[in-house]
Symmetry: C2
Subunit: 433 residues, 2 copies
């Protein structure tokens, strides 16, 4: 088999065989096939796409390029949830304990990455003492005992994706549905859960800029799941405003705790109920959405969800006194109210911009080496559809930086007001099976 | 400027600026831009093409990546001719001396390459003693004195093309009109002639498989010439059968000599008259095709063209006694008549196959290191439109190999006969200005 022939085949829009895709992935990971041939193939895939069979074969080959985790010693149905990422997305912190409190098993491995705020691992690590490294045995034991564990990915999880992603990043081949879908799904499948619930976000603060793009990506990923005989479902959710009110690591942990105690912001609660009901059906704990939502609502109100969160923090060596008295987290040196200079209904929030401001305040990483300031972030006080008077506080910035004039200006610029009444934005648009 | 942005721009089908193209070519030649970014850009060009301004800018940047030859000290109009390559293509051997005998100046630099037979340089080197390396001063002096010199390219001619071609070869990006056109034209323009006559061949023995492809490529190259203010014209010529009768280095030199003496095969003579008339008009020696053809015909008959050929061989240290007595070249050990087992009119000759047989007999190079056997080759005895009886000789193989059964079979398979009368194939289909 020759890599040049494989490139030519894709260039000529012919379907690649499973053995050709496996040859390419294996050869690339082993260093036999050079970057320059792979980047040419990737660009041909950008233009000609891939059939659902090809994407499944690619995902399978990528998944098998490293460790594939065996979770069979965990009793019960293991459900995993993955979000394509958004601003203020603390869903996993709530949803994990919540569905575990209902009987589903959440054995989650998370990656780190660049972003406006930290990822799930960073948010958890903002709780003093919290450990995201665990032995495989302890990880499995913990899930069997309390229903949930969230740890860092093993370093040998899908090495093909690490190498491919680094190459895609510098060769203009990031934006490609088959490449994005196989990247996400190879990692999800390698971590061994029985069912996968995807939260595909769209809007100004998300990777997919509109509903159509999100639907295309979600459909591709669900199809991969079906090819692999994994129950895979996807929610299409809105990211045209930050999720909930908090953006930033400790701020989001606090909001997650409030939500687990039944006092969460409306959109975050709604997303957790919708995604949670999908996961409970996948876990075969209930067989309809109505029962699922009732069970989930109860566990948010009766303390069961929060109880699992406490167990989870304790098992992973987090200091529970912070959870029980969140004032212990302290606040950033500077807490600045941003006030509106106009009156009207909020029609649009430039969410990507909100994320960039959060990062500039210290909450996220631009480069891998950057350190996160767990205290930094933003509390959004007004959301789309809300009416704002002149002088109303629209957001509160938290930062340990001494200079933040640009950030204030940028927040003001991110809120677009209209004279006429504007509807609030629903969070879940569709669910793809 | 970032190479990733340039790739993304081309991926998104936006037009690249001259400075972006120059940045890419300069950076690549200097080794600053890696192969993997270049191959991704090349694949994006394969899919999205290039505007004629982009192709001109690419050609200009490539041309300037190495030496650009200054021929201004040659008196008269320097006309260069380039063929995209075919089987039995000895046109330069005839056309060079012929147009020089009419007053045009031919200061030609040729490259080597892989192929069914050697290139022009190899054919010339089959004349004992012939030198294709000359100092720049001697090269210019020779053209001023006898009107023609054909030498090897300087090693620093268009290094960008060498590097790009090697990469294209292994990344499935050879077939692309802007990339082919800029590759050819950058070399032609770097060798400094005033006018360029292109012979773009199409058919089973050519790079372009049909007239449409040839027209597209020719048009792209002529446009590049216009952008560069060089008089560039292109003939579209047929390669659905070998050109003339001889295929192989010494065999082709002998046929060229016969043609220069006025006894050439019809299609080769016609091509030389048509291309020659274009070149004489480009050299402003005549101002219409009728006068050009009359002049060319006269010089083939009155010995003037052959006289220039003799001068040319003598100036470049070739042994003239071989030219004056071609029997001195000797013949290959095995000369095998291939006879037809059927009767009918020849409708089609699989010319690429004929070329491969010639190569297998020893006449060409498959790999760079391969040595050429100058004596090896094929004489085609019947061409399209000819009637053949059972037992008629259709071709004669010349080889120093002792095994050639497959080659005989392959020749027979290459001739497709029909019961009904078939027209002969014209050689020149169109001329593009």
């Amino acid at each position: 088999m020759q890599m040049t022939d494989i490139i030519l085949k894709k260039r000529n829009n012919e379907e690649l065989l499973k053995e050709e895709i496996t040859y390419f992935i294996d050869g690339y990971v082993k260093g036999i096939i050079p970057d320059y041939q792979v980047s040419a193939l990737l660009m041909a895939i950008v233009f000609n796409g891939m059939s659902s069979q090809e994407v499944a074969d690619l995902t399978f080959a990528m998944m098998n390029s490293g460790d594939v985790i065996d979770l069979s010693s965990i009793i019960g149905v293991k459900v995993d949830k993955h979000s394509t990422g958004g601003v203020g997305d603390k869903t996993s912190l709530v949803l994990g304990p919540l569905v575990a409190s209902c009987g589903a098993k959440v054995a989650k491995m998370s990656g780190r990455g660049l972003g406006h705020t930290g990822g799930t691992l960073d948010k958890l690590e903002s709780i003093p003492g919290f450990q995201v490294e665990e032995s495989r045995d302890n990880f499995i034991k913990q899930v069997n005992e309390i229903g949930i564990a969230i740890v860092g990915q093993s370093s040998n999880l899908v090495p093909a994706d690490k190498k491919l992603y680094a190459l895609r990043d510098v060769t203009g081949t990031v934006q490609s549905v088959p490449l994005i879908a196989s990247s996400i799904m190879s990692k999800k499948l390698a971590t061994g859960s029985d069912a996968i619930c995807l939260d595909v976000k769209f809007g100004s603060g998300a990777f997919c800029k509109n509903l159509k793009e999100a639907k295309t990506l979600a459909t591709a990923m669900v199809k991969i799941g079906h090819h692999m005989k994994k129950d895979t479902r996807a929610l299409l959710t809105n990211m045209d405003q930050p999720l909930g009110n908090a953006v930033g690591n400790i701020l989001e942990v606090k909001e997650a705790i409030e939500t687990l105690k039944g006092n969460g912001p409306e959109d975050l609660v709604e997303l957790c109920l919708q995604a949670g009901s999908v996961m409970l059906m996948q876990a075969k704990i209930v067989n309809n959405q109505k029962d699922a939502i009732e069970l989930l609502k109860n566990n948010l109100q009766n303390g069961k969800a929060f109880k699992v969160f406490e167990d989870f923090v304790r098992y992973q060596k987090g200091d529970l006194s912070y959870i029980n008295d969140v004032s212990k987290f302290g606040v950033a040196k500077n807490v600045i109210e941003v006030k509106s200079s106009f009156a009207g209904y909020i029609a649009k929030i430039d969410t990507e911009n909100i994320g960039i401001v959060a990062m500039n305040l210290g909450a996220g990483r631009e480069k891998k080496e950057d350190k996160i300031d767990y205290q930094a972030g933003i509390i959004i006080k007004k959301k789309c559809g809300d009416y704002v008077k002149v002088g109303d506080v629209i957001a509160i910035l938290h930062t340990n930086h001494s200079e933040y004039t640009n950030e204030i200006e940028n927040i003001i610029k991110s809120f677009h007001l209209k004279k006429e009444k504007v509807d609030s934005i629903p969070i879940v648009y569709d669910i793809i099976y």
